[in-house]
C-alpha cells in the first residue's frame, strides 16, 4: 500500500522529494472532494494532511477522517493536537503533565 499526501503546493513538494508518488495538490476549495476520493480508494494506507487544513474542515468530515482506519489519517504540523484532551476525558487524569 502507499502513502498519500494532500495539501498545498508548499506542503506537498517536500513529501514528493522523499519519494511519495500519491501527492494531491489542492486548494482550500477542492480539498474536501479530494479527501473523499482518497478515503474511498483501496490502495492507500496512510493519508498525510496538514494540521491547519484539517482544522478547517467541517466537523463531520473531520470526524470521518479521525475514525477511518483504512487509510489511517495523520495530521502533520507543529501544533500539539487534541490527544491530551482526549486522554484527560477518558482516563480522568492529565497524563501528559510534565512531559
Amino acid at each position: 500500500m502507499e502513502i498519500a499526501v494532500i495539501g498545498s503546493q508548499d506542503f506537498i513538494v517536500g513529501f514528493r522529494l522523499a519519494g511519495i508518488r500519491k501527492v494531491h495538490e489542492t486548494t482550500s476549495e477542492t480539498i474536501q472532494d479530494r479527501i473523499i476520493q482518497i478515503l474511498e480508494s483501496e490502495d492507500i494506507g496512510i493519508l498525510v494532511i496538514n494540521m491547519k487544513e484539517m482544522e478547517r474542515l467541517p466537523s463531520a468530515l473531520r470526524e470521518r477522517l479521525e475514525e477511518s482506519s483504512s487509510p489511517v489519517v495523520i495530521p502533520v504540523g507543529t501544533e500539539e493536537g487534541d490527544m491530551r484532551d482526549k486522554v484527560r476525558r477518558a482516563i480522568g487524569v492529565d497524563l501528559y503533565k510534565g512531559a
Partner: protein, 212 residues
C-alpha cells in the same frame, strides 16, 4: 423502573432476582474489560506521548530545510528534483483486534534511501536538496510510526470511554433501580402476608364466638 409499574408478585420477584444476577455479572465483566483496555493503553502511552512532539520537531526541521533548498536552488529546481524521485516508500496495513477494538498495524520497509539511489542527478542539484529529502524521509518514518500509535490510542480511548460509561450506568442506574424494585416487592409481599394473618385471626375469633 417506577414503583407503580411493578407487579408485587412472587414471580416478578424471581424475575428481578434473575435480572440482578445478570446485571452484576455483566458489570463485573465490563469492569474487567475496562481495566484491560486501560492496561493496554498505558503500555503504548509512553511511546505515543512523544510521537506528536517528534512529528512537530521533524516537520519544522524539514520545512526549514526545504525553504533553504528553495532559496538556494530555486523553486523550479527543487520541484523538478522532486518529480525525478524514483524510490517510493511502501507500507503494508493490517488490522488487529484487541477486545473488540480494531487497531491498525503498519509495517514499512525502510523509507530512507542514500542520495545516489534517489533518482535525481546529484551533479545538477545542490546538497540542500539532499538534506531536505533526508529530512522529509525521516519525517515520513515518524509519520508511519505515529499512524499506528495514534490511531491505536484514539481507538482505545474511545472504547475506554464507552466502557466506562456502561460500567457506571450499570452500577449507578440499572442496579439501584432493580434493587429498589426488589425491596418494593418484598415489602408488599410481607404486608400482604400480615394482612392475611390478621384476617385469619379475625375469622378464627368469630368462629370461636359463634361456637362458644
Amino acid at each position: 423502573m417506577p414503583a407503580q409499574e411493578i407487579q408485587p408478585t412472587r414471580s416478578e420477584l424471581l424475575e428481578i432476582n434473575r435480572k440482578i444476577r445478570l446485571t452484576e455479572n455483566g458489570h463485573k465483566i465490563l469492569k474487567l474489560k475496562r481495566d484491560g483496555l486501560i492496561l493496554e493503553f498505558f503500555r503504548i502511552l509512553d511511546e505515543a506521548k512523544d510521537i506528536r512532539g517528534d512529528i512537530a520537531k521533524r516537520y519544522s526541521e524539514a520545512m526549514e530545510k526545504i525553504a533553504v533548498a528553495n532559496a538556494v536552488d530555486g523553486v523550479i529546481a527543487v520541484r523538478s528534483a522532486a518529480l525525478a524521485i524514483s524510490c517510493e516508500p511502501k507500507i503494508s496495513l493490517s488490522t488487529r483486534n484487541f477486545m473488540g477494538v480494531v487497531v491498525p498495524e503498519i509495517d514499512s520497509a525502510k523509507v530512507c534511501t542514500p542520495p545516489e539511489e534517489r533518482g535525481y542527478g546529484l551533479l545538477g542539484t545542490s546538497p540542500h536538496i539532499d538534506l531536505a529529502a533526508d529530512a522529509f524521509q525521516r519525517l515520513i518514518d515518524t509519520v508511519i510510526k505515529a499512524a499506528e500509535l495514534e490511531t491505536t490510542m484514539r481507538r482505545l480511548l474511545e472504547e475506554i470511554e464507552r466502557t466506562k460509561r456502561r460500567v457506571n450506568a450499570l452500577e449507578f442506574k440499572v442496579l439501584p433501580e432493580l434493587k429498589d424494585a426488589k425491596r418494593f416487592i418484598e415489602m408488599r409481599l410481607e404486608e400482604m402476608e400480615r394482612d392475611n394473618i390478621f384476617r385469619l385471626k379475625r375469622i378464627k375469633a368469630k368462629g370461636r364466638e359463634a361456637s362458644g
